[in-house]
């Protein structure tokens, strides 16, 4: 099905091409602040409700209104829903990005555009098909008021799209009814706009060969973003103090925590079983978490890279004075302000060793919203058990995009682990209390909470202290404590969530990744297997790394390390924290700000596994490549 170089006004060609069912990608280009986000969310939810594995990536500007924004949707029956940078269809609703959007579609693909105005000749590509629907004109004719016309145009393109790719109209209606159950007028307008787009497209064009078909899902799923899941984890873990300073893309975690607490932790008379502190900056937010953790509450903050920078001094204090706290880092593109609305894994090194002096921190790496929930609960247990800051390292892609993720479940047998806390009963059994004494050899000393007993009183300080908690400038007294901290982290190493390892037969190469890289890596590994290169996968879930991680690295001749940052930060961490030979680790890097795709991974891996291939062009490629199928 090729285009004729002119906008298609008649029914699209119906030459015999087998339909591609539930396996394609499209992108919607709009202007932010015009209501398109709701329409795009609707599209995602409808496809998801059709049972089809789907992902939606919001590529949005750091702006409130008027700048270009894109929404990328990928459907894949095999569950490969990592970002797909090769688009079969573009819904081009923003004239200011027409030329960029027209060039983004694959050869043989389609461009759905608003033909209320003629398309400039310079935008015509001979190898694609143009589908013009006069959306603005229809909406101007059928709706009154500028705002309604703008909003309804979005729903009209949903209607057109539904007709073209087979989105289930009944599910769309059902979804709209749920959204506007209390707004009858809005519901009617939405129905009307939907029908306008749908009917026009039906009348003028044949359905495209890329089609959606309802399927029975292979399990129980929900559609949720990682920040909501993480906030839910905080509530379920029993966190009572949330302190933060607003920052993209971490804000929605705290917004969700606040909403969830209103729902689950507020009495009818307004009494609350939580405190939500909006701090003056990230320094204060970290200080509040540490103050509350020291006092014995489960406390956390949610931030991004710039916030981690500001929190670093306090993080060092919490490490050295041994105070629990959970720090969510929803990574965005750095350095500096960077691109606040784009994703990256650029904070790995700054988190692992945050703050001056010798420090090392526990970090957990969720790879999906589902894991954001479970690992955030675990983070609180680990923080209290090891009396140290624990980081949950997510990113914008997981945090802010809705993901199809397994339904969350709660183990009612779960009880929180408060760690070694001496209360009056325990204090009664000892002669004197010494804060930093390692009695049982695991590197963890018991702490006491203020206000409980005079016998347990001690002085907490970031200045040099000995095992009794006394100020010291004594070389042995100082060193004994910092050496025990190493021991404590060694104890942690063995009990942190282990790596997820998937082995294939006859492999020589392994691939290591973490966080949101998982889906793209799995897809790449499947493609590599088809091409005769079986590769083992190891997805890391925690730092410091366990012995299992070390063993995996030793067992493979070549290990690809996938990083969503320029400098191969995960690779550096592996070199630093395991016994692996540096030369064995091949770096595969993607850091342009978009979520990782299998293309990026293959571009880095194939030149090594197929050295005579034409693709032998370096590893750190930020632009999507066109790979052979």
């Amino acid at each position: 099905m090729s285009g004729n170089g002119r906008p298609a006004r008649s029914k699209a060609s119906e030459e015999e091409v087998p339909n591609r069912v539930n396996d394609f990608a499209f992108k919607i280009a709009t202007v932010n602040g015009t209501g398109s986000a709701s329409a795009n969310g609707l599209i995602l939810k409808v496809i998801y409700r059709m049972g089809i594995p789907v992902s939606g990536k919001n590529v949005f500007p750091s702006n409130i209104q008027g700048l270009p924004t894109w929404y990328e949707v990928r459907v894949n029956k095999s569950g490969h829903v990592a970002r797909m940078p090769r688009f079969d269809l573009i819904v081009a609703m923003n004239p200011s990005t027409y030329s960029q959007d027209v060039s983004a579609v694959e050869s043989g693909g389609w461009i759905l555009y608003d033909d209320s105005w003629p398309l400039s000749k310079s935008l015509i590509r001979p190898d694609v098909t143009y589908i013009g629907v006069p959306l603005a004109r229809i909406c101007v004719e059928k709706f009154a008021g500028a705002r309604a016309r703008i909003l309804m145009k979005n729903i009209a393109y949903v209607g057109a799209l539904a007709a073209l790719i087979g989105m289930d109209k009944e599910i769309i209606k059902q979804q709209l009814e749920e959204t506007f159950s209390h707004k009858k007028a809005m519901l009617d307008s939405n129905f009307k706009a939907l029908a306008l787009g749908y009917d026009y497209a039906r009348e003028h064009f044949a359905p495209l060969p890329i089609q959606l078909e309802q399927v029975e899902p292979d399990g129980e799923y929900i559609m949720m973003d990682g920040n909501t899941a993480a906030a839910l984890g905080c509530v379920y873990a029993g966190a009572t103090v949330g302190a933060w300073y607003p920052i993209t893309p971490a804000t929605s975690l705290m917004d969700n925590f606040s909403d969830l607490c209103k729902r689950f932790r507020t009495e009818p008379d307004g009494t609350r079983r939580y405190v939500f502190l909006q701090a003056e900056d990230e320094l204060a937010a970290a200080g509040m978490v540490i103050g509350a953790g020291w006092m014995g509450a489960r406390a956390f903050t949610s931030t991004a890279g710039p916030g981690i920078d500001l929190m670093s001094e306090f993080i060092g204090l919490a490490y050295y004075a041994e105070i629990p706290g959970v720090f969510f880092d929803i990574q965005r593109t750095g350095p500096s302000t960077g691109m606040p609305t784009r994703t990256q894994q650029g904070d790995l090194l700054s988190i692992a060793y945050a703050s001056h002096g010798d420090t090392m921190h526990i970090a957990l790496f969720p790879s999906s919203p589902e894991e954001c929930f479970y690992l955030s609960v675990q983070a609180f247990d680990l923080a209290e058990r090891f009396q140290t800051p624990v980081f949950v390292v997510s990113d914008l892609d997981i945090g802010m995009n809705d993901w199809r993720t397994p339904r969350l479940r709660w183990d009612s047998a779960y009880r929180w682990d408060r760690g070694k806390v001496f209360r009056e009963a325990e204090l009664a059994q000892i002669k004197t209390f010494a804060r930093y004494l390692d009695v049982d050899g695991d590197g963890i000393a018991a702490r006491t909470l203020p206000g409980v007993s005079a016998k347990g009183a001690y002085f907490t300080r970031g200045s040099g202290h000995d095992k009794y908690g006394r100020y010291t400038e004594d070389e042995d007294g100082y060193q004994e404590v910092v050496d025990r901290l190493v021991k404590k982290l060694e104890t942690a190493r063995a009990v942190l969530p282990g790596p997820v390892i998937e082995r294939k037969a006859g492999t020589v190469a392994g691939l290591v990744c973490l966080g949101s890289s998982e889906l793209a890596c799995r897809e790449a590994i499947d493609i590599l297997a088809e091409r005769g290169h079986p590769v083992d996968l190891m997805r890391l879930r925690a730092f410091p790394f366990s012995a299992e991680v070390d063993a995996f690295l030793r067992q493979h001749e070549i290990v690809f390390v996938v990083d969503q940052n320029r400098d191969g930060q995960l690779r550096t961490l592996l070199v630093n924290d395991t016994s692996v030979e540096k030369a064995k680790l091949r770096s595969v890097r993607h850091y342009s700000g978009t979520p990782l795709s299998a293309d990026h991974v293959l571009k880095g891996v194939l030149p090594v596994l197929e050295p005579i291939s034409d693709d032998a062009a370096g590893t750190d490629v930020s632009e999507p490549s066109r790979l052979p199928a």
Partner: protein, 351 residues
């Protein structure tokens, strides 16, 4: 910071408070500050106030930042938990601790560097947040631990130990606190224990953020001719105006004062405080008046001391946030975790 254990020797005559405790029970480690440091007098006043109020030592929480003043939390109430935070960031730690447990007695000690330079923002926001605590700013106009640099409270023209006059204008913590709507604002002098002890007591009783700026000369770096923070200069310029003595005197004692010269204030815990007015017509419940008075006297080179402003009706962090009666850190897990059924119902909203 560094401290030396103090010998505890009791004599038969030792006075005991309502809890049967002695002053020694409210002391801490031996001070390592310079002999004659104003801060040690403030420590003594805090010990005295705690003793007189018969506060259970283990129910107190002592917080500080970094600097000479911040060392002093190790020198009083050793049976309370203490926390030396990072420089200028004690208010955030105090806010977090207080959020987690609303029923303990919080006392923060800071200095002019810690509060007015590196920690100025934190102080301002703690005031805004009205965290229930007593915040003592031990103000000596100089950086002691780093040996004699001017601080943000150094007056313009005040001379350093090396004879160099300060060129930059000062931040007046009292005007700042008043402008920010602090609900308890006082100034005192480390050399006037009679004034300071009742002020500390009142500050501890105050519901909300009680701020006391205590002029506290640095004998090593800022007690010379030409300094506006020396013992001599403060004694000369101090104008015990307003609510000079904020004294918890008994009603029968109050009756001995001239009519109109005693004002009573009901504290949040129900105690009545009697405020003996020295300056005629000064109303410590009038914020605008207090600001004007301060400005007027500052222009005359006078430093008004005493309780300058009080408002017992400003809701503190917990009242505003409507937190539960049980301190958050003591809430049982079952009251915090919504449980499996609730999660399952919620999941249906995300289908």
């Amino acid at each position: 910071m560094s401290s030396i254990a103090k010998p505890k020797i009791l004599t038969q005559k030792t006075e005991r408070n309502a809890l049967g405790l002695t002053r020694l029970d409210y002391e801490g480690g031996m001070s390592t500050l310079c002999a004659g440091c104003g801060h040690d007098s403030i420590t003594a006043a805090i010990v005295q106030a705690f003793f007189e109020m018969a506060l259970p030592p283990h129910r107190a929480v002592k917080l500080s930042g970094i600097g000479c003043s911040s060392k002093t939390t190790a020198y009083f109430v050793s049976q309370a938990h203490g926390f030396n935070a990072v420089h200028g960031r004690m208010p955030a730690v105090a806010a977090g601790a207080n959020a987690a447990h609303k029923d303990l007695t919080y006392i923060g000690v800071s200095g002019d560097g810690d509060s007015l330079s590196i920690g100025l923002g934190q102080l301002c926001h703690a005031i805004r947040r009205n965290v229930h605590m007593l915040y003592v700013l031990e103000n000596n106009g100089v950086y002691g631990l780093t040996k004699g640099q001017f601080s943000a409270s150094s007056d313009r023209g005040s001379k350093s130990k090396y004879g160099v006059p300060n060129q930059e204008g000062p931040i007046d913590s009292i005007s700042l606190a008043l402008a920010l709507g602090c609900s308890f604002v006082a100034r005192s002098f480390s050399g006037d224990k009679e004034q300071l002890v009742p002020l500390v007591m009142a500050g501890l009783k105050h519901r909300g953020f009680a701020f006391i700026d205590v002029l506290s000369p640095c004998v090593t770096f800022n007690d010379h001719e030409g300094s506006t923070k020396s013992y001599t200069f403060i004694r000369k310029s101090r104008h015990e105006v307003t609510a000079a003595g904020f004294v918890p005197i008994q009603p029968e004692i109050a009756a001995t004062y001239a009519p109109g010269s005693v004002q009573s204030v009901t504290m949040h815990d129900g105690t009545t405080m009697y405020l003996r007015k020295v300056a005629e017509g000064y109303d410590p419940t009038n914020r605008a008046g207090a600001l004007g008075y301060l400005r007027e006297h500052a222009d005359r080179g006078e430093v008004p001391t005493g309780l300058l402003y009080i408002n017992e009706n400003d809701p503190d962090l917990h009242e505003r946030e409507r937190t539960a009666a049980t301190p958050l850190r003591d809430l049982p897990f079952e009251s915090l975790c919504p449980g499996g059924e609730a999660l399952d119902r919620m999941m249906d909203e995300y289908l």
